[in-house]
C-alpha cells in the first residue's frame, strides 16, 4: 500500500501540451508513472509522448479512466482546471504552479471537500510513491521504496529528507508535498490521518517551517496517532515574520513562529529533529529497523 497514489493510479496531466507539461510528462513516464491522458482545451486529438490529449477532463476520464490529475498551467488557470477535475470525479489533484491566488485556492478547497477529493499545492513538488508513481517534479534520485512517510511544505526539504531516509536504508512509502503557497489544498492534518491508516508506513516525518498555522493545527491528530511522528521545523533562527494586521493576530493568536510550531508538535508527542541526520537516529531510538543496510 501507500497513500494517495500507487502503481495503479491513472494520471491525467492538465496542460499537457505546454512546455512544462510536455517536459514533466516525459520525466514522469520515464519513472514508470502511469500517465493515461492529458487535457488542453482546443487541442483535443493531439498526442504528447504517445499519450492522448482531450479538450475536457470529462472526456479524458471517459476515455482513459484517469483518477489523479497533475496541473501544469499558469496560476491564473489553475482554479478552473482543479475544479473541473474535482467535479468530473478526479480523486487527487496535484497543483504544481505557484502563486495561486488565495481566493482561488479557498474555492478549490471548498469544492474538493464537497466532492471528497484531495488537492495538493499550489507550489507543490508533487507526490511520489517510490517505485510506483512520481507525480509532479520531484527528482527520482532521492527516493527509494521503504517504510517512512513524509509530508512537507517545501520541495527541497522533501528531497533532503527523502535522500536522508534513502541513504540510511529506511526508504519511503509516500512523500507528499503540501506546497509552499500561503493557502494550500491540503494540510499536514489531512495527510497525517492518511499515513496513520496506511499499513506500510511505520513512522511519518513532517517538515514544517516558519509562518502560517498548518503545523499547529495538526497537533490534535498527532496526539491521537499510534504511529510516531518526527518533525523538523525550518526557521528556528529566522527573524519573526510579519503579522497580517490586528485581524491576523486575533485570528491566528500566537501561532506562526518556528518555536510555536515546535512547541505545539512536541507537546503533542512528536519527536523533533534538528538536522536531517537526526531523523534516522530518532527512528533507530524508536526501534524501527531500516529495510536495507545504510549506505
Amino acid at each position: 500500500m501507500a497513500i494517495l497514489v500507487d502503481k495503479d493510479s491513472r494520471i491525467l496531466v492538465q496542460g499537457m501540451t505546454g512546455t512544462a507539461g510536455q517536459f514533466h510528462t516525459k520525466r514522469m513516464l520515464e519513472y514508470g508513472t502511469k500517465i493515461v491522458s492529458g487535457t488542453s482545451p482546443g487541442k483535443g486529438g493531439e498526442v504528447v509522448e504517445s499519450i492522448p490529449v482531450f479538450d475536457t477532463v470529462e472526456s479524458a476520464i471517459d476515455n482513459t479512466g484517469a483518477d489523479t490529475s497533475v496541473i501544469f498551467l499558469p496560476a491564473a488557470f489553475v482554479k478552473e482546471a482543479a475544479i473541473e477535475s474535482i467535479w468530473a470525479g478526479i480523486k487527487h489533484v496535484v497543483v504544481v504552479p505557484e502563486h495561486i491566488p488565495i481566493f482561488d485556492m479557498m474555492e478549490i478547497r471548498k469544492e474538493a471537500k464537497r466532492y471528497g477529493s484531495t488537492v495538493l499545492g499550489g507550489n507543490t513538488p508533487g507526490i511520489i510513491t517510490p517505485g510506483q508513481a512520481n507525480i509532479g517534479i520531484m527528482p527520482d534520485i532521492a527516493f527509494k521504496p521503504g517504510k517512512i512517510g513524509t509530508v512537507s511544505r517545501s520541495g527541497s526539504i522533501t528531497y533532503y529528507v527523502a535522500d536522508t531516509l534513502t541513504r540510511s536504508g529506511y526508504g519511503e512509502t509516500t512523500c507528499v508535498g503540501l506546497g509552499g503557497d500561503p493557502v494550500l489544498g491540503s494540510t499536514f492534518d489531512d495527510i497525517l490521518r492518511m499515513f496513520e491508516k496506511d499499513d506500510e508506513t511505520e513512522a511519518v516525518v513532517m517538515c514544517g517551517e516558519i509562518g502560517g498555522v498548518y503545523e499547529e493545527i495538526a497537533k490534535d491528530t498527532i496526539k491521537r496517532m499510534k504511529k510516531p511522528v518526527i518533525c523538523i521545523i525550518g526557521g528556528i533562527y529566522a527573524p519573526p515574520g510579519k503579522r497580517m494586521g490586528h485581524a491576523g493576530a486575533i485570528v491566528e493568536g500566537s501561532m506562526g513562529t518556528a518555536k510555536s510550531k515546535l512547541k505545539a508538535l512536541e507537546d503533542a508527542g512528536a519527536h523533533a529533529a534538528r538536522t536531517f541526520l537526526d531523523i534516522p537516529k530518532i527512528l533507530e531510538d524508536l526501534n524501527i529497523e531500516p529495510v536495507e543496510k545504510p549506505k
Binding site: 479557498m106 471548498k110 507550489n123 520541495g155 490586528h246
Partner: protein, 396 residues
C-alpha cells in the same frame, strides 16, 4: 501587498464606507493649507507601508497651521520606521465619542473569511482581544458567500450598536466585506472606526493588504496606481540591488554567504549553519526554475560582500534543474570569478548533466574552480553546512 492608508480609503469610499475628508500632501505648505481649511487644527499622518506609525512618531496632532508646517517640515526630512516620508495625509480632528474595531481577514486553518468586530478599537485592540476574547466577535463566511444585510446587523449588534447606528454600521460592515471580496484582499481593517460626538461613524484609519498573486485580475487597482510593490523599509544597498534583479534577499549578521535553492532550504540551511556554530551573512531564495543569469547574479552579490568569508552552495534539483544551476555557477566563474572559498552540493533532477558541465568547464579552466569544493548526493548536506562553518572560521 500593503496599500497606503490613502489608497485604502479610496477603495473604502468606492464602497460607501465613510472616511475622513483628508488631504494628501507632499509639501509642508500643502500641509499648512490643509490644516488651515480644517479650522486650524488637524492630524498629520505619514503615508508609509508599515503599521505602528503612532508609536514611531509618524502621526502628529497639530493645533495651528504654523505648527502643522513645522511638524510637516520635520516629518518630510525624517524616515519613519526606516521609510522615507513622501506623503502626509492631513485629516481633520474628530470629536471622538467612541472607537470600535472592524476587520476582515482569512482564517487559513478553516479556509474561511472572518469578519471581526469589537466595541473597543484603537491601538490596543490586540491586547484587548487577548484579555477579552468574548468581547471580540468573529463571524465566518465561505469563500463564495456574499454577506446579507441581516448578517451585518448581527455583527453590528455584537459590536453594541443600537437604533439608527445599527443601520450606519451595517452598511460599513457590508462595505468592508465587499472591499475585501472585490480586490482579493488578505486583510481589510478599520481601526479605529470612530463614532463622533455628533453621532456619525467614520473610518479614521484604513488598512488593506491585497493578495499579490491576484493582482493580475485587478486592472482597476493598476489604474489607481496600485501595482506590485515592495514594502521598502530600511533596505541595505545590497538588498536593493538584489530586489532590482528580482531576488528575495536579506542581509544578516554573519559571515557565511548562503547560496541555497528554494525558500524551504533557504530557511533550513540558515538553521543548520547556526546549529553548527556559524552565522549566515544573508538569506536568499533563487525562486523556482531560476535562469543561469540569475544564479550568477546571486553569486556576485555574495562574492562582493566583504562580510562574506565563505559560501555555502546547495542545489537539490526539482523544478530548478542541476544543469541550469551548473550553467549559472560556470557563468559566474567565467564572468566574475570566485574570490572566496565555497563548498557546495548538487544533486536532483539533471544532476548528471550538471556534473558533466562542471567537469567540462573545469577541464578547460581548472583555475576557475580552485576555491570550490563540490559534492554530490554521497555527501550529506549537514556535512556541507559544517564545512562552510569551518571555512568561514579558517579564513579569520
Amino acid at each position: 501587498m500593503r496599500l497606503f492608508e490613502f489608497e485604502a480609503k479610496q477603495l473604502f469610499a468606492k464602497h460607501k464606507i465613510p472616511i475622513t475628508e483628508g488631504v494628501l500632501c507632499t509639501t509642508p505648505i500643502e500641509v499648512r493649507n490643509a490644516v488651515l481649511n480644517f479650522d486650524g487644527r488637524g492630524i498629520l499622518k505619514v503615508q508609509i507601508l508599515s503599521g505602528g506609525r503612532a508609536k514611531a512618531g509618524g502621526i502628529k496632532k497639530v493645533e495651528s497651521p504654523e505648527e502643522a508646517e513645522t511638524v510637516a517640515d520635520d516629518l518630510f526630512e525624517e524616515t519613519v520606521k526606516g521609510y522615507p516620508v513622501e506623503r502626509i495625509l492631513v485629516d481633520p480632528l474628530l470629536d471622538i465619542r467612541r472607537e470600535y474595531y472592524l476587520g476582515v481577514t482569512i482564517n487559513r486553518a478553516k479556509y474561511k473569511i472572518v469578519v471581526i468586530g469589537s466595541p473597543t478599537g484603537g491601538v490596543d485592540i490586540e491586547e484587548f482581544a487577548r484579555k477579552n476574547p468574548a468581547k471580540v466577535f468573529k463571524e465566518s463566511f465561505e469563500i463564495d458567500e456574499r454577506m446579507y444585510s441581516f448578517e451585518a446587523y448581527g455583527i453590528g449588534l455584537q459590536m453594541k450598536f443600537r437604533k439608527e447606528k445599527l443601520n450606519l454600521v451595517s452598511s460599513i460592515i457590508m462595505g468592508l466585506y465587499n472591499v475585501f471580496k472585490a480586490y482579493d484582499c488578505k486583510l481589510a481593517e478599520i481601526n479605529p472606526l470612530v463614532e463622533t460626538e455628533n453621532g456619525l461613524l467614520v473610518a479614521a484609519d484604513a488598512r488593506i493588504s491585497v493578495d499579490d498573486d491576484a493582482l493580475f485580475r485587478h486592472p482597476e487597482l493598476a489604474e489607481m496606481g496600485i501595482e506590485k510593490r515592495h514594502e521598502e523599509g530600511e533596505m541595505t544597498l545590497r538588498e536593493k540591488e538584489a530586489r532590482e534583479h528580482g531576488i528575495p534577499y536579506l542581509d544578516l549578521d554573519g559571515k557565511i554567504g548562503m547560496f541555497p535553492g528554494g525558500a524551504g532550504f533557504g530557511i533550513m540551511g540558515n538553521d543548520f549553519v547556526n546549529y553548527f556554530g556559524g552565522k549566515p551573512a544573508n538569506f536568499m531564495d533563487s525562486g523556482g526554475g531560476p535562469s543561469p543569469e540569475r544564479l550568477a547574479k546571486m553569486l556576485v552579490l555574495l562574492d562582493e560582500n566583504p562580510k562574506v568569508k565563505a559560501i555555502f552552495g546547495a542545489r537539490f534539483g526539482g523544478i530548478s534543474r542541476c544543469d541550469d544551476f551548473a550553467k549559472g555557477v560556470i557563468m559566474f566563474l567565467k564572468d566574475h570569478g570566485l574570490s572566496k572559498p565555497m563548498v557546495m552540493r548538487m544533486t536532483g533532477n539533471n544532476w548528471e548533466e550538471g556534473v558533466r558541465l562542471f567537469d567540462e568547464a573545469k577541464k578547460k579552466n581548472p583555475e576557475l574552480f580552485e576555491n570550490i569544493e563540490a559534492h554530490g548526493i554521497e555527501t550529506p548536506i549537514e556535512q556541507i553546512a559544517r564545512r562552510a562553518v569551518e571555512l568561514s572560521q579558517e579564513v579569520e
